[in-house]
Subunit: 155 residues, 2 copies
């Protein structure tokens, strides 16, 4: 994937670095499909209605950035199987955050399109972002940052 | 913002719906800036090195989608002040998820570029995605879904 749209981003920030890799709609759709258990080129193609050159380009990008890796398929060695790496699986909170926000703000009268269940407690899953240390739900007003964050807060 | 790249997405899913609105690098950069406390057109422009027509287009999109709203500035009524709405502030978990992933996987030797502190417990903030009900950290293997999720898991 070309970095044509990369901003002249003066703020050194992990959001910026993440967006350099993930800041493309197709990329996020492919990652979503991977979490839904899709492994094969032709299934990505059918599920997304994506152009072949775009899909090829984005899969290459995801493999280069070690979010997906390819395995030989056990049934057909000529067929590539795309599998999420650890780095890729670690995107699950981002996908959950998008699901939770979409469920809350974009669902129509029929409610959220997909009901997830948390098998650990057996309840329907709504995700909340918590502090790893105290496990409280993170509220924007309780978060402060060193350097860039404070500096820009006054602008 | 034109929906030129909208996929023929057959999967009804909140990730898809969220990406229709947020699936653009500039959109996420503007939202990040808003969380950093940026309110004004010229500050977005300087901080992002973005073209004026692109910035105008994306701000319009964010206001249309009620993620940002405009207030008259108290100092200068001709100047528009862009403020996150409740729907916009509710994107904080998404921003935190990108920060946490970027800190873990994309930081260089100097470590994460921005250290956040959770004032509620006083510790450096690392966010984890938890189940709202049981407050356990969500592990991919513990999540199952009705309909779409299960159906595609076998592909």
């Amino acid at each position: 994937m070309k970095k044509l749209n990369k901003p002249a981003d003066p703020r050194i920030c992990s959001v910026g670095r993440s967006m350099e890799i993930l800041g493309d709609r197709w990329i996020m759709f492919i990652i979503r499909e991977a979490f839904f258990g899709v492994h094969y080129y032709d299934v990505f193609l059918t599920n997304l209605g994506i152009a072949t050159n775009v899909l090829t380009d984005r899969l290459k990008w995801l493999v280069e950035n070690r979010i997906l890796e390819t395995h030989a398929d056990s049934q057909d060695a000529r067929r590539k199987k795309y599998v999420l790496t650890e780095k890729g699986r670690d995107l699950f909170p981002i996908i959950l955050a998008f699901i939770t926000w979409g469920d809350r703000w974009l669902a129509d009268e029929s409610g959220p399109p997909l009901v997830l269940t948390h098998q650990k407690c057996g309840h329907p899953l709504t995700s909340v972002m918590c502090c790893e240390h105290c496990r409280e739900i993170i509220d924007l007003k309780d978060v402060t940052g060193k350097e860039v964050w404070r500096e820009k807060k006054s602008s």
